[in-house]
């Protein structure tokens, strides 16, 4: 290990005296490292919130409801207000110049622009 790396104490030591169980004891080499941790969705499912009274606050029911305001439609490329919508690419656009631009965009870019507002076609 290089001198400057050691000097900066960049690397976390593997043995720390204040720990009762060391990392290498928990995850010995050879055993698969990234053991599976439940994702948030799985955690929420396991919480069984439906078994508790509805007025008790929990992680799921404190979420905000959908917005009451009408959706703001903005041009996917420029951010201007977008009165139009291209049926072919499904992109929203502000004016003819942007339209020209979106029609010359490769499909890959179209999809990434759509993905920005979570509207891309996801193939599974």
């Amino acid at each position: 290990m290089e001198h400057e790396v050691i000097e900066a104490e960049l690397v976390l030591p593997t043995h720390l005296s204040f720990k009762k169980v060391q990392m290498y004891e928990k995850f010995p080499k050879g055993q698969s490292r990234g053991r599976h941790w439940k994702h948030l969705k799985q955690i929420i499912q396991a919480e069984n919130y439906q078994n508790y009274p509805a007025d008790e606050p929990n992680y799921v029911n404190i979420e905000s409801p959908p917005s009451m305001h009408p959706n703001k439609k903005i041009c996917d490329i420029t951010g201007y207000e977008a009165p139009y919508h291209d049926p072919r690419t499904k992109l929203r656009y502000a004016n003819t110049e942007v339209f020209k631009q979106i029609r010359s965009l490769p499909n890959e870019y179209v999809q990434s622009y759509l993905a920005l507002r979570n509207a891309a076609v996801v193939l599974r």
């Binding site: 720990k19 905000s64 917005s67 305001h69 903005i74 420029t78």
Partner: protein, 718 residues
């Protein structure tokens, strides 16, 4: 960057007795740890872990937080990027959390056999009990912590500011963090979680949105747009528009104001070296060199030619000598004599002589007057052609065939020559005619020529478009091709259609193909080479070039349209890169990105924005505290990293004014330090005498079970 990590190892760990709690603000973006009762956290670092491989030794190491990027050059970071223990605002990856805690306690100076201090750690509002118990388990079992307390960062921050008189006992905390935003109402100094609400939008989404937009806008500079850089750009330049529509209108109209608002990030760029035109000396030197080389080549060619002539003369002499000798040899000795020379008969030798003389002449550069000779001796040369086949021997028949072939080819050649001459004459005539026309009325002639030129240009252009686009002109002319269908020309498309219909017709019903004669026409249409269009086009192009050359001669103002034939090569030629190519302009993006906090549907999250959330929260207040809702808007505190944008308070005020009844008094305050107040508030609580009663002891954790842990709530009032 406003946040700077502090990761110097502390040396005074042993000064603190075991009763002093350690306070941790475990935020999704930054981790802060310090001692209860102090005013500043000791250690601050980004809440991320990297596990790169060391380049020389190959071992995988753990790096916590952000470090000098220059030191990372010794590591191979391509395999794994920075990872966080958080999913939204909930800790789920406790392996990573453990690395982070390791690093934090290590830097705090811990070196005993365990962490013998109570720990107060923050969590999100209504943290799922699974996450809470895993965190408790980690702290108790791995670090030997005697007791743990969990609190909400936003509440600590609110209480801290309440103590300083910035907000009241009743009020709203609007906390916009890294991955989520919360609005938490406070009644009598306690947070009311029943009424709080969360939208899953935060600083992370703003940065990510900005990063994506910029990399789509500047695909060439994608590599420069690292997460850290974009985060910096966001903090430096983003602001919140008071009214998105009118602000964006300024940019759309291209007003002066908008121009001033646009920011430009100049990437490092060095102008390409300008190539100086070669000097006189250089040119002459090069010319001399070229001349010298040419001379050498010519000499070489000359030498080769003379040697070839020599060789041929020798051969000829040898052959002539052979013939002379052959005359002295008796008739019956000929075969034996010839067998030594390699020739079979006298005729063969003679033909060899003729060949050699011909090539010798050629080598000497003399004209071969074969053709003329052939013309004169036509009758004798093709003597066999008029004789009937039956009168000829086998040999003669062969000869006749040869003569026939020769005759037809020579005739064809003559015809072609004749045609060329005719064409020449025709053109001459046409030119003369046009010249006459021009002289007669130069203006009208020029006009006519120009009209013809543009006409032809258009025609060719259209044909080209038809060919590349298959007749489907989709607005953008040259390169709109997306699908496969648009790459084919009209003729190819038609062929495809025929093929597919033919393939499909076969299967169904009665097969009547071939009953009518027209059916067989299909194969003709299908065959690949019926693109007779091309010839027509070539004709057009030839005509066009003729007209344009003529125009160039007589019209000084004429400039040929470049986009007709050479547009492709023109475009593909690399343009020298300029300073402007290395600029990243932040215009609308400056306020478009933070706008997602108020309109999460811009990034496809269908939830209420910050201003609406305040209304939702007040509506959710339970009926027993309904009286308090009047005062709620009078004490709104904004907390968290995402409230640092300029214009945040004003926008929130106008937004909340819209949804609250007319005449409501609205007072919005920014926290004294929106980022560190949470830790400071927590440190103050941990130092209070009541703190030990609020903690979860190790025994509690083992004996009382999960249901109790779920009910556990930190109390913020004493």
């Amino acid at each position: 960057m406003p946040f700077i990590s502090q990761i110097q190892r502390q040396s005074d760990y042993h000064r603190f007795p075991p009763s002093v709690p350690i306070v941790i603000d475990n935020g999704a973006s930054y981790f802060r740890i310090g001692w209860a009762g102090e005013s500043e956290p000791r250690i601050i670092f980004r809440n991320i872990v990297q596990r790169p491989r060391h380049k020389t030794t190959g071992e995988t190491v753990t790096i916590v937080g952000d470090h000098d990027p220059a030191l990372l050059k010794y590591f191979d970071c391509t395999r794994s990027g920075p990872r966080s223990a958080f999913d939204a605002d909930v800790v789920f990856q406790f392996e990573i959390m453990e690395y982070i805690l390791d690093f934090a306690f290590d830097r705090l100076g811990a070196d005993g056999s365990e962490i013998d201090h109570p720990v107060l750690i923050t969590e999100c509002p209504c943290n799922p009990v699974q996450s809470r118990s895993k965190m408790a388990e980690l702290l108790f079992e791995t670090y030997g912590v005697p007791s743990v307390a969990f609190g909400v960062a936003a509440a600590f921050s609110y209480k801290y500011n309440q103590k300083r008189g910035i907000c009241d006992r009743n009020g709203l905390a609007i906390c916009s963090g890294f991955t989520t935003s919360h609005v938490i109402p406070f009644v009598n100094g306690e947070p009311v979680y029943e009424a709080c609400c969360r939208t899953n939008v935060g600083g992370y989404h703003v940065t990510d949105y900005l990063k994506q937009l910029l990399s789509l806008k500047y695909p060439h500079h994608m590599s420069r747009l690292s997460w850290e850089k974009v985060e910096d750009l966001k903090m430096e330049h983003c602001y919140i528009a008071q009214d998105y529509a009118s602000e964006v209108g300024l940019f759309q109209k291209g007003t002066k104001e908008a121009e001033q608002k646009a920011r430009c990030w100049q990437l490092p760029w060095t102008p390409a070296p300008v190539e100086l035109p070669p000097s006189e000396e250089e040119i002459s030197r090069k010319a001399a060199l070229r001349e010298k080389q040419g001379q050498r080549l010519r000499e070489m060619a000359e030498a080769k030619r003379s040697s070839k002539i020599n060789e041929l003369e020798n051969e000829l002499n040898g052959l002539e000598f052979l013939i002379q000798q052959l005359q002295h040899v008796g008739e019956k000795d000929i075969p034996s004599f010839l067998s030594t020379t390699g020739y079979v008969s006298k005729q063969e030798i003679e033909s060899a002589i003729v060949k050699t003389t011909q090539s010798l002449r050629k080598a000497k550069g003399e004209q071969i007057e074969n053709e003329e000779k052939a013309d004169t001796s036509n009758a004798e040369k093709y003597n066999l052609l008029n004789v009937d086949d039956s009168l000829l021997t086998h040999e003669q028949l062969k000869e006749k065939k040869r003569q026939l072939f020769l005759k037809t080819t020579s005739e064809g050649r003559n015809r072609a020559r004749q045609k060329r001459i005719d064409e020449e004459l025709q053109r001459e005539k046409q030119n003369k005619l046009e010249e006459a026309k021009r002289l007669e009325n130069p203006e009208a002639y020029l006009e006519q020529l120009r009209a013809k030129y543009t006409d032809l240009c258009e025609k060719i252009e259209q044909k080209k478009r038809l060919k590349t686009n298959g007749g489907n002109t989709n607005g953008n002319g040259v390169s709109g091709g997306v699908g496969r269908g648009e790459r084919l020309s009209a003729a190819q498309k038609e062929r495809m259609r025929l093929l597919t219909t033919a393939a499909f017709d076969r299967g169904k019903g009665e097969d009547t193909f071939g009953i009518r004669d027209e059916d067989w026409q299909l194969y003709k249409l299908m065959s690949k080479d019926n693109d007779d269009e091309d010839e027509k086009q070539d004709e057009d192009e030839a005509e066009l070039s003729r007209i344009s050359s003529r125009l160039r001669d007589i019209d000084p103002t004429f400039t040929p349209k470049t986009d007709v034939g050479s547009s492709v090569s023109e475009a593909s030629r690399p343009r020298p890169l300029t300073k402007e190519d290395f600029q990243i302009i932040l215009g609308v993006e400056r306020f478009r990105c933070p706008e997602i906090l108020f309109n999460p549907n811009i990034i496809g999250i269908d939830q209420a924005g910050l201003d609406e959330m305040a209304g939702v929260s007040i509506r959710r207040l339970p009926s027993k505290v309904r009286g308090a809702e009047e005062g709620m808007t009078n004490s709104i505190l904004i907390i968290g990293g995402s409230c640092l944008y300029p214009g945040m308070s004003e926008r929130l005020e106008s937004g909340i004014r819209m949804i609250r009844p007319c005449g409501t008094s609205i007072r919005i305050n920014k926290a004294s330090d929106p980022i560190l107040d949470a830790w400071r508030g927590a440190a103050a609580y941990a130092a209070a005498v009541q703190f030990p009663q609020q903690t979860i002891k190790k025994m509690d954790y083992y004996e009382k079970g999960e249901e109790w842990l779920r009910k556990y709530q930190f109390r913020y009032t004493h």
